[in-house]
């Protein structure tokens, strides 16, 4: 029998579920779980990535699994879009699993076996989301994913804030799920056939396609963390154990991107230009909001969570641009914008996972999450620090690493917008490009703050001197992700060629054929724009080495160590370094309108003067609290009829019966 790549994908999903179940067999045996099951899960992830990599260029394949309700089997299908996201899942899940093998310790929170089960079911559910070919299977996988991640987020369920964060996450996940369900309801167009195949062949008319798109944007936006449905993200990601945060941020958010692309480009026939403008505006607002809030954070994992919001915003802006171009039939430009969005998704899976895992190592070594109590860890934890530096430079969008490539592609797509028939859209583009560039530049600020305060400077607390570097398994995971950041940055043309089947499937045109040779990336034409990260890197490295050689040879290489000079001020303490609040203060001041600031100033007569400042989120107060208050009021009103006495309830039944009799008459 011939084995297709699709069979391997299915086998990988089954293997993940099996590993999870095996974890339940001996839930308290940490050695068995961390030395056997998690590494096995990593191998499965690698296998999934290889299988999906081989499937990306081939024609879609179908299969029907006799699972679920009678008469409603799971329709599954693998096509280039699902293959791409499966590769993303596989290559990111493998290092995270290896890291987890060294990360999870006994004691505190859920039993390791239970954790292993939830973790692998989460992975399997994400893979299933990407190959589901009917709304039923999709929703089952989607909800499994939400539930598994909910339980993972609340691993440390004894802490009230974590329970609260988990609840918020579950709530918004379900609001989003309702929107997605309604979206599929619109897409089936009254035929009652919920397979994606039938939705694809159906042409919706009137306002229905718009309704479907808006519902998809809302539903998947809730999962991705688009404004204003982002509030769960900065709560849930920090609450989860670090490998789970990495998985949620690096991979789970991408399932939402996958869903949005699937509905917009695959299930819907034509795209309207203003959908693109809507997605573009929403994406940019999200990106700016995320990065400004990231600059003000003092908890390292919350900072990364806000930075995830920013990156998702950039990806959605890319998708919006692709929709605009596609609606005007500029397929090459649409393909470039979509490539940028997909590329950035892949990049984000690497660098954000890397940074979340690094914070996990820091957390284990120091028991400290607040940036204000860290510092100087590059001396105690060199492996984590140097690998995190790669992630930091990549996420800050610096050449020659991977974050720069996707941003470069997106800016190229923006730059060649002129010539669209709608002059309003034409005018919009420079403004939008400016906002995008501003968000990217702010990201550099945020990442310097993140890295500088955790790893550089002097330790702000004495017990940081006992911090220990990550173990071997954790290092493997970190090295893998850092290598991914470098390779994705250095060989963009190969990555774009690999992405091309997705472009051809969704847009109809690819970029890869004329994207240049392996050395030089030139997506439109070489005279228009070109970029070669490898040459840039080689030139910088050669100049650096030559300079070192020349300086040492013609002068000398003598170095003396001495205490820091610091303008001759002798009484320096580590507390005089910038805190996280201090480093973010200029941004908070410039973007003061973004925050809801509660300041408490000491009075001149206070015995123990205290200053406190809380930078909150306006949207929470404008949208969420009124809704919560409304729900409370309704519940209280409904509560009036709940007396808790059986006679009263019998009276209700009696009255109801009377009323019914009256109506039946």
């Amino acid at each position: 029998m011939d084995l297709r790549p699709f069979d391997f994908v299915l086998a990988a999903i089954a293997a993940w579920v099996a590993i999870g179940v095996l974890g339940l067999a001996r839930p308290r045996d940490l050695r068995y779980i961390s030395r056997l099951l998690f590494p096995a899960g990593a191998l499965v992830g690698l296998g999934l990535a290889i299988a999906a990599f081989n499937a990306i260029g081939s024609l879609p394949e179908f299969t029907i699994l006799p699972l679920g309700l009678p008469g409603l089997p799971f329709h599954l299908r693998i096509d280039p879009l699902s293959s791409f996201f499966l590769v993303l899942l596989g290559v990111a899940a493998a290092p995270i699993s290896i890291f987890s093998a060294g990360y999870f310790r006994s004691g505190g929170g859920a039993a390791p076996g239970l954790l292993c089960f939830q973790y692998h079911v989460f992975l399997a559910a994400m893979a299933l989301v990407m190959i589901a070919d009917d709304a039923y299977a999709f929703m089952v996988a989607w909800e499994t994913m939400a539930l598994a991640s909910y339980f993972l987020v609340t691993t440390d369920h004894r802490i009230p804030e974590i329970r609260r964060a988990g609840f918020l996450y579950l709530l918004i996940a379900h609001v989003g799920a309702i929107a997605i369900l309604l979206c599929f309801g619109v897409l089936q167009g009254g035929t009652g056939d919920y397979t994606f195949g039938s939705m694809r062949s159906l042409v919706l008319t009137g306002a229905w396609p718009t309704a479907a798109f808006i519902l998809a944007l809302a539903g998947f936006g809730a999962k991705a963390g688009l404004l204003p449905l982002h509030v769960w993200l900065p709560e849930a990601h920090p609450a989860a154990p670090s490998p789970v945060s990495a998985l949620m941020s690096g991979v789970m958010l991408k399932t939402a991107i996958y869903g949005l692309l699937r509905v917009t480009f695959d299930l819907l026939h034509a795209q309207l230009w203003w959908w693109g403008v809507l997605a573009l505006a929403l994406g940019l607002a999200t990106a700016l909001f995320g990065v400004v809030f990231a600059a003000a954070q003092t908890d390292m994992k919350r900072l990364l969570a806000y930075s995830s919001i920013e990156n998702i915003g950039i990806i959605v802006a890319g998708i919006g641009l692709a929709i605009v171009f596609k609606s005007y039939d500029k397929t090459l430009l649409a393909a470039i914008a979509l490539t940028a969005a997909l590329y950035h998704s892949l990049n984000h899976a690497f660098f954000k996972s890397l940074l979340f895992l690094a914070t996990g190592s820091v957390l284990h070594a120091t028991k400290e999450r607040s940036l204000g109590k860290l510092g100087g860890l590059i001396h105690r934890m060199p492996w984590v620090a140097w690998l995190a530096l790669v992630g930091t430079l990549a996420i800050a969008g610096l050449p020659p690493l991977n974050g720069f490539v996707s941003e470069w592609l997106l800016l190229q797509a923006f730059l060649f917008t002129p010539g669209l028939p709608q002059s309003f859209v034409n005018m919009l583009v420079p403004v939008v490009a400016a906002a995008l560039v501003l968000a990217v530049a702010l990201a550099a600020y945020v990442m310097v703050k993140f890295y500088g305060i955790i790893f550089l400077g002097r330790p702000r607390e004495p017990n940081l001197a006992y911090a220990r570097d990550a173990g071997h398994l954790e290092r493997i995971g970190l090295v893998w992700l850092a290598a991914g950041c470098v390779l994705l940055g250095l060989f963009p043309v190969n990555v774009i060629r690999f992405l091309d089947p997705v472009n051809i499937m969704l847009i109809g045109t690819g970029v890869g054929a004329n994207a240049g040779n392996w050395l030089l990336l030139a997506p439109i034409s070489a005279s228009r724009s070109s970029y070669s990260p490898l040459i840039v890197l080689v030139v910088i490295v050669v100049v650096v080495l030559l300079t070192i050689q020349i300086v040492h040879r013609y002068y000398h290489g003598r170095v003396r160590r001495a205490p820091p000079w610091d303008c001759g001020f002798p009484a320096q303490t580590p507390r005089m370094q910038d805190t996280a609040e201090g480093f973010g203060q200029p941004i908070r001041q410039v973007f003061e309108q973004f925050f809801r600031i509660e300041r408490h100033l000491p009075s001149p007569f206070d015995q123990a003067p205290r200053y406190s400042l809380k930078a909150g989120d306006h949207l929470w107060h404008w949208i969420y609290l009124p809704i919560a208050r409304g729900a409370d009021a309704i519940a209280r009103f409904a509560g009036l009829i709940q007396q808790g006495r059986i006679a009263v309830y019998l009276t209700y039944s009696f009255v109801t019966l009377l009323a019914l009799l009256f109506f039946v008459q």
């Binding site: 560039v437 030139v539 170095v559 820091p564 910038d578």
Partner: protein
């Protein structure tokens, strides 16, 4: 890639390396003359760099390797930038590897490294400088990119040599978009090169420093490289300005005579540019740090306006 193209590439890089300290010396001389002081010799920056190379390097005890590699990385990034900005010729093989967006990326790379190095020792002034530098950078970088985008929209290319080729052949008229972009570019260059009104390169008061505060702990060869890189940055910014706004006289193609003829033209333009810079610095006062967002925000808006004007008027 022809041999002459390679040669023009190396010639341009060598000229940039050699001429950059001279530009700084010239600006200092003009400043002194304009404020009625006796001027230091124009070759002073060379002597300073040489003196610093001879001295023993002193590194603070808590410094990590990031502190020691940063001067080299910053210098390397500035050299790479000098190789892609067409100052003498447009036939640059290396310019194909990095376009205008990558140029801004190279500047950002240098900035991030120097900010990280400033935080590395853990002194109060170092982190203060790093914070301020990133603060100025996040506003200046987008504005610079918008200026470059305006030029890219006119020429239909983000490659700097193509931009110069197109702009040098336009008819001699004032383009409204370029005029706005020029003002924005001037403002950004002042901020990015640590000049008055944002920063003062000659200050001795640590509390007002930005760039200098970050390099307080550097000495000897490390400081020499940082100073040289700062001079290269000023040179690069001047050459970007020349390439976009006054591209006439830059050699096109691998013609030897043209490249040689371009050298005095470049020196002439740099001399005028340096004088104007000194003039701006002499007649303006340094701003408080929190006035900087207004200044740079104006530059940013002007640059966006330049793009809009370009789209509206097509010029």
């Amino acid at each position: 890639m022809s041999a002459s193209a390679l040669l023009s590439q190396f010639l341009q890089l060598a000229i940039a390396l050699l001429l950059a300290p001279l530009v700084v010396g010239w600006v200092n001389q003009c400043r002194a003359l304009l404020s009625n002081r006796s001027a230091p010799p124009i070759t002073l920056p060379y002597r300073t760099i040489r003196k610093l190379f001879i001295k023993d390097a002193i590194v603070a005890t808590g410094a990590s390797p990031i502190f020691r590699i940063t001067p080299y990385v910053v210098f390397g990034a500035m050299c790479a930038a000098a190789a892609i900005v067409p100052s003498l010729a447009t036939d640059l093989p290396f310019a194909r590897a990095a376009d205008a967006i990558a140029l801004v990326g190279l500047f950002a790379l240098a900035r991030v490294f120097i900010a990280l190095a400033a935080m590395d020792i853990g002194t109060a002034f170092g982190t203060l400088g790093a914070r301020r530098e990133m603060f100025i950078g996040f506003l200046a970088e987008p504005a610079l990119l918008m200026v470059l985008f305006t030029a890219s929209l006119i020429s239909g290319s983000t490659s700097l040599p193509s931009i110069v080729d197109t702009l040098a052949h336009r008819e001699l008229a004032i383009y409204p978009s370029l005029a706005l972009a020029g003002v924005a570019f001037t403002m950004v260059s002042l901020a990015e090169n640590a000049r008055i009104p944002i920063d003062n390169p000659a200050t001795h008061l640590e509390l007002t420093m930005i760039h200098e505060a970050m390099t307080l702990e550097y000495s000897a060869r490390h400081l020499a490289l940082i100073e040289w890189a700062a001079a290269l940055k000023l040179f690069n910014y001047s050459c970007i300005g020349i390439a976009i706004f006054f591209p006439f006289g830059i050699a096109e193609g691998g013609n030897w005579q043209a490249i040689l003829a371009a050298v005095p033209v470049l020196v002439f333009k740099l001399a005028i540019g340096g004088f104007l810079l000194a003039l701006i610095e002499t007649v303006s006062a340094k701003m408080r740090i929190f006035r900087a967002p207004e200044f740079l925000g104006t530059a940013f808006l002007l640059a966006v306006l330049a793009m809009l004007v370009n789209l509206l008027l097509g010029s």
